[in-house]
């Protein structure tokens, strides 16, 4: 590039009246080996811009797990839950299938005996009331 031209461009550059294309030309000029001695002082500036342009974001993008995982996870959870409910349901087989008639009869008899004796016991409890009456008499 002609020296005259680049001088004018640099001047315009500091007034911020250059276009993007003109600035690219300036940067290209300063990236070159042969910079005019009186312009050499500006080289670090453009070298810095060129350097920073090389910086890259190297970390992985944070979006992968965000949406897909909960999607299949919730489906899996729903399936597991349904199976669980299905298999853990109490079996409503009747007693007749599990025990013979005699066994049931025997059990019923046993329960009746128990109930009978229990009722006897509760009749005896009425005597306790007498105790209370008498103790109250003494206390008064």
């Amino acid at each position: 590039m002609e020296l005259d031209n680049i001088d004018k461009l640099v001047e315009k550059y500091f007034e911020a009246t250059t276009t993007v294309a003109e600035e690219k030309a300036i940067k290209a000029y300063f990236a070159n080996e042969e910079v005019a001695p009186h312009l050499e002082k500006y080289t670090p500036m453009f070298a810095h811009f060129a350097n920073t342009r090389k910086e890259e974001y190297t970390k992985p993008l944070p979006i992968k797990a965000k949406r897909n995982k909960p999607m299949w996870l919730s489906i899996a959870a729903a399936v597991v839950l349904l199976f669980g409910v299905y298999f853990l349901q109490p079996k409503n087989e009747s007693l007749e299938n599990e025990y013979t008639q005699e066994e049931i009869a025997a059990a019923q008899e046993a329960f009746e005996l128990l109930a009978l004796n229990f009722n006897k016991g509760s009749k005896q409890i009425t005597y306790l009331g007498e105790f209370e009456k008498n103790t109250n008499k003494f206390l008064k």
Binding site: V20, P44, M45, A47, H48, T52, K66
Partner: protein, 170 residues
Amino acid sequence: MKQVEFLTIVMPFKDKLFRLAKRLLVSTEEAEDATQEVLLKLWTKNSAFEKYNNVEAFAMTMTKNFCLDRLKSKQAGNLKLVHSNYTDDSSTSLQKQVEANDSVSWVEKIMEELPEQQKLVLQLRDVEEYDFEEIAEMLDMQPTAIRVALSRARKTVREKLLEKHSYGIG
């Protein structure tokens, strides 16, 4: 929107987001976190993408706002952003190259000291090469104000650089 589509939209400018964040926050780790945060926000509201005619500009604005908020909260908490990116990426023994590297990192320091708005404009224009209309959209500024800020920023960098230059000679 699917992940692949999202990635094809985001990939071209993710580095620009990171660089903008780094310019403001200085620390590489902080800038990475900020970029990640912004991308995540974009992803969660990507169904609204159609509403924005320029996703890139929108993402840049988001990054700018996020970083400025971050700086504010750090200042309020009286904490300074620490960074540990002191790289020695060259094994150059030549004196001239050392000097050149030195002045380049000097420019970086000068840029760090600029007011935030000038820093943003300089970054968007001289590093990312956006035109004034795009910068106006990103920063919500008038093009004339951008021109003034840009000119000031460039002149400040020049002045400080020349100061350093003449120290070096003297």
